[in-house]
């Protein structure tokens, strides 16, 4: 079930966690389609966690902010915890100046930290040469 969704954004499943990311060229229609697709997948896959990586987003305006907040609330109602990871520094500065704090949205510095927070971690020994 991996691959392009109607919104053009792939949603991957890793155990009971859904992993996805927002692209910079996201228009309003795609954002709405993405929301619908993701909530449908949470129910169908019985996901307990969702990681949305936004490290490629160069701007977040109030529309995208609203989308992220609504997604978080909907996912919670469906029993999944959402973590938004990888927000760029200029985007964070602009958001707070806009007056948007993404109330209720959990954030993580990068996808790895976000996945760890969702309880998805490497328990097996790391491959040769990799850092623990």
């Amino acid at each position: 079930m991996n691959g392009a969704s109607p919104a053009g954004v792939p949603i991957l499943r890793l155990g009971d966690v859904l992993v996805t990311g927002l692209l910079n060229e996201l228009d309003d229609k795609s954002a709405v389609a993405f929301s619908e697709e993701l909530t449908a997948r949470i129910t169908r896959d019985g996901a307990r966690g969702v990681l949305i990586d936004i490290s490629r987003l160069e701007i977040i305006d109030s529309f995208v902010a609203r989308t992220l907040m609504e997604l978080t609330t909907m996912a919670r109602l469906l029993g999944a915890r959402v973590i938004v990871s990888g927000m760029r520094p200029p985007v964070a500065i602009t958001l707070v100046e806009l007056g948007l704090q993404l109330t209720g949205v959990e954030t993580a510095l990068n996808a790895e930290r976000g996945m760890a927070a969702l309880g998805w971690r490497q328990n097996s020994p790391p491959p040769e040469g990799a850092l623990a």
């Binding site: 927000m87 707070v96 109330t103 976000g114």
Partner: protein, 347 residues
């Protein structure tokens, strides 16, 4: 975009019109005087241009000597550089006069001459030469040039006409030089104050995944902005989990700065790290309280040491715990209360 271009064109058109008008009126004025005056101007022009061509080296040498002899000379610009400047400017003056451009517009309108004058002034601004010395340098060229003109042929009235032309030409060069010098100094001041801001807001790594910004002295909006940008950048680079802003050394803040500090805390949280503020003085606490900011979401500690202690606990807790790690919750989450799943997850 099109508007700007249109405006620029309109502006260019206006300035051309002004230039034409001026030169026309000059011509009329001389015309109503005598035909001889126009001839005199041409003679003066040819005479000065001739001196610049035949005596170029002599004039340049003399100018360099005059500058070196000035009491304000401090050696900031080397003699070889002076000589290069002199050659460039003398050459530019000659070609400006040859171009037939009206003398009063030559410095502003002749590309080569304009560049020679601005480069000379910017170099002095950069080397820290005083404004007086810079003005005197340009005026010294007047002396060198007049001496050369006097050596040439012609009667007194021709000499007077040439002197007048040299004055016109070099006075406008002096004006441009001074303007450029001031702009150059201002640019240097702007750059230095930016650099000063950068060095006065260092971000230091205190522990694994723990960063701190010790702030000392008065905080204004510009500095708080730099703090925010530097801190967020460092958090990304070091993959930091906790950032400490220590304001022990800050005597007081105004409401705008207090608001910026709170924005910084929120921005750090949006990036997925925690932010602690330490060393808040009573007067600052008062300002923050008067702002009516909800402090329940802001982590504070009395001293930097306490803050570091809390930060280390935070990072240790998250690397050991199964979850709740390295995650920040927008408004509502705070130290020790990072809830897996948030309030509605257990529904």
């Amino acid at each position: 975009m099109s508007t700007t271009e249109a405006e620029a064109e309109a502006e260019a058109a206006t300035s051309t019109a002004t230039a034409t008008a001026t030169s026309t009126s000059t011509a009329t004025a001389t015309g109503t005087a005598t035909e001889a005056d126009i001839g005199a101007e041409a003679v003066a022009r040819e005479r000065v241009a001739g001196a610049l061509r035949t005596d170029a080296d002599v004039i340049a040498d003399r100018w360099v000597q005059l500058q070196l002899a000035q009491p304000t000379w401090d050696g900031a610009v080397r003699e070889t550089e002076l000589r290069e400047e002199a050659d460039a400017l003398v050459g530019a003056l000659a070609s400006a006069l040859d171009s037939g451009m009206p003398v009063r517009h030559a410095v502003g309108g002749h590309r080569e001459l304009h560049r020679a004058v601005t480069e000379l002034s910017l170099r002095r601004a950069r080397e820290g030469v005083s404004p007086t010395a810079t003005s005197l340098a340009v005026l010294a060229l007047k002396e060198a040039l007049l001496e050369a003109v006097r050596r040439g042929p012609g009667d007194h009235s021709e000499l007077f006409g040439s002197a007048l032309l040299v004055n016109q030409l070099l006075d406008s060069a002096g004006a441009l030089s001074f303007e450029t010098y001031v702009e150059g100094r201002e640019e240097i001041i702007r750059r230095q104050s930016r650099q000063l801001l950068e060095v006065s807001t260092p971000v230091v790594r205190l522990w694994r995944h723990v960063l701190a910004v010790p702030l000392i002295g008065t905080l204004d909006t510009a500095r708080t902005q730099v703090v925010m940008e530097n801190l967020l950048q460092a958090i990304q680079e070091h993959e930091a989990q906790v950032a400490i802003i220590d304001i022990t050394g800050v005597p007081t803040v105004d409401t705008a700065v207090a608001q910026h500090l709170m924005q910084t805390v929120n921005a750090v949280r949006l990036m997925g790290a925690d932010c602690l503020i330490s060393g808040i003085r009573p007067s600052i606490a008062q300002t923050i309280a008067q702002l009516g900011i909800d402090l329940s979401t802001i982590l504070t500690r009395a001293t930097l040491a306490d803050a570091l202690d809390a930060a280390v606990r935070l990072t240790a807790a998250s690397s050991g715990a199964a979850d709740g790690s390295g995650v920040s919750v927008g408004s509502g989450g705070s130290l020790g209360t990072v809830r897996p799943g948030g309030p509605l997850a257990d529904l």
